[in-house]
Symmetry: C2
Subunit: 341 residues, 2 copies
């Protein structure tokens, strides 16, 4: 209803066959310059727009990438998607964006829907609830181009983009220790998550190096309900075994921590020092006190994912996506939440 002329009508107008017109528009060598010019100008005049579905059907590709993220309201994921779009747009690709809301079942539904070829590839970061990855292995085994970022599946042999999670966890913890912390809590979304594991390992090794022993009660696994998280952290802060430092492995838990601290009489950083993986720099410096952050190169990660895929999808006869983990380092920015003046 909304589309204008099609190829056949355009051809009729030009008194040429559809095949000639198609070739002319696709700049085929078989067509003379004169006809090409005529065809192109008439196409512009009639505002001819090729039907994307006819083309997709014929070419068996959609010029569409699916992006699957755990949540939209996150500066990290927003920036990653911006980075992806920046690249894909230049190649004329479109972006289907899905949020799993940290729910495996939704993730499975989305992935299964995408099996039908609606998208040429998937860029994703798994939900915190994802432990069964059969839906993803199936996808990959069918040869579907799949790239992970941030929250990856190690078991699936494809390319993954992450930040230096281990080192960042290590350095962040070390920084807290250097500032005098002896009891450091670790906040996470789920033990299953790749980022949790790596960041936690860095945290453990930093403790070890400083001769500190990890205490299981200081690890908190959070959920999707902000209020519950705040209360859990508050319990931790008001309990007998109160930590003097907190390493939050994701952005939203840093905010929950600030909320929790507000409900106590504790002071940051005097009584409790806070450091978090965090992507929203503007907010980090506005928090009171400003938050020491480990900033992931979100936009850049998105760009790299997209560049890799564009190379694979637009060049003929590309090899499969190699099974490797590409690391783009984060940056630690020390602010007031960890420094006592």
């Amino acid at each position: 209803m909304s589309t204008g002329v099609n190829l056949k009508e355009l051809a009729a107008e030009l008194k040429l066959s559809p095949s000639t017109v198609s070739r002319a528009l696709n700049d085929s060598y078989e067509i003379s310059e004169a006809t090409k010019k005529k065809v192109i100008s008439m196409a512009e005049k009639l505002n001819y727009q090729p039907n994307p579905f006819a083309r997709s059907l014929r070419e068996n590709k959609s010029k569409t990438i699916a992006v699957v993220i755990p949540e939209r309201m996150s500066s990290f994921f927003s920036k990653v998607v911006d980075g992806i779009e920046e690249v894909t747009q230049q190649y004329g690709y479109h972006l289907l964006v899905y949020s799993t809301h940290e729910d495996v079942d939704r993730e499975k539904k989305i992935v299964n829907l995408l099996m039908n070829g609606r998208a040429d590839a998937i860029i994703m970061s798994v939900s915190s609830q994802t432990s069964d990855i059969s839906h993803l292995t199936r996808l990959h085994e069918r040869g579907f181009p799949l790239v992970f970022f941030d929250r990856i599946c190690s078991d699936i042999p494809t390319t993954k983009f992450i930040t230096n999670d281990y080192e960042s966890g290590f350095e962040g913890t070390k920084h807290l220790i250097q500032q005098g912390c002896r009891k450091i809590a670790f906040l996470m979304l789920s033990k299953e998550l790749s980022i949790t594991k790596d960041r936690y390992k860095g945290y453990l090794d930093a403790l070890k190096q400083a001769g500190l022993s990890p205490e299981p009660q200081l690890n908190i696994t959070c959920c999707q309900e902000e209020e519950q998280n705040i209360e859990a952290i508050k319990q931790l802060l008001t309990g007998a075994n109160r930590p003097d430092g907190i390493l939050s492995s994701v952005e939203k838990l840093a905010l929950a921590t600030y909320h929790a601290v507000k409900r106590t009489h504790l002071r940051i950083p005097e009584d409790i020092k806070i450091l978090s993986f965090f992507s929203n720099l503007s907010i980090a410096s506005l928090l009171n006190p400003s938050l020491t952050t480990i900033t992931q190169p979100a936009f850049n990660i998105g760009e790299e994912c997209a560049k890799l895929l564009m190379k694979k999808l637009t060049k003929p006869r590309q090899p499969d996506l190699p099974n490797q983990v590409i690391t783009i380092p984060s940056q630690i920015t020390i602010r007031s939440s960890t420094i006592v003046l």
Copy 2:
């Protein structure tokens, strides 16, 4: 390459014709229950997935909605998209999401790309730079289903969803006046924006009602560069004609204001009171001091846009989208940035 069996192969496996299988899967009355059962179970067994492009080509619809927003890193727009997805997903629709980055040229490119029928409808909020709307009128005149939200185009006769911008601007300003403000600045992204106009009108009327006269120097039009905005606001705050209250018409300018205030020796709310349209409640209450906000029903706006479109697209013979503005009220939450204890 990635798709499994197609209809013909499925039919061959069942020793039936493709048409029968198609009808069976679409639950046609012409097919016996027995065959339907057989077909469905075989389809499941072979994991048959209909090719979406073949279907789109034939049916001339894509089961896809395009969402065009000015930026991704905004809690307001993130929540709206979440609301849209919540509804469209139930109908099996997919979401193409585009960000214009507040750039009209990108907006035009995106809209023109969408003219070819890749999406069945567009839900959009225009960029702050959009004054020439020819790309949108053309789209609408072709009968393309188009719905606006938040930043709308009044001149295009279709359905628009907004919040009570005028009243919110009025009430917000009134609140500032009640708290003793006499010189209230108004921060905006662009004078062209529908939300700016309405909120500003509310602001003006509230001033008038209080017998205050508007001062042009207190209106600041901001840009895309956060640093520039911060400096501009700082100039305002340190100038001779310093305001004692600020009404920010968008979220990001409230953050810029907090940054600007940090660069002065002014205190909030004693020296300057701040109130803003703002969607991220968690952040609003963490700011120091906590921010008095006008909260738009973002998720709800998204849901309503989607519901309307789903009705139009999934029911046969629906009328055009009526030319009306539907208002969903915001809520004002008073916090510390406007209250001197």
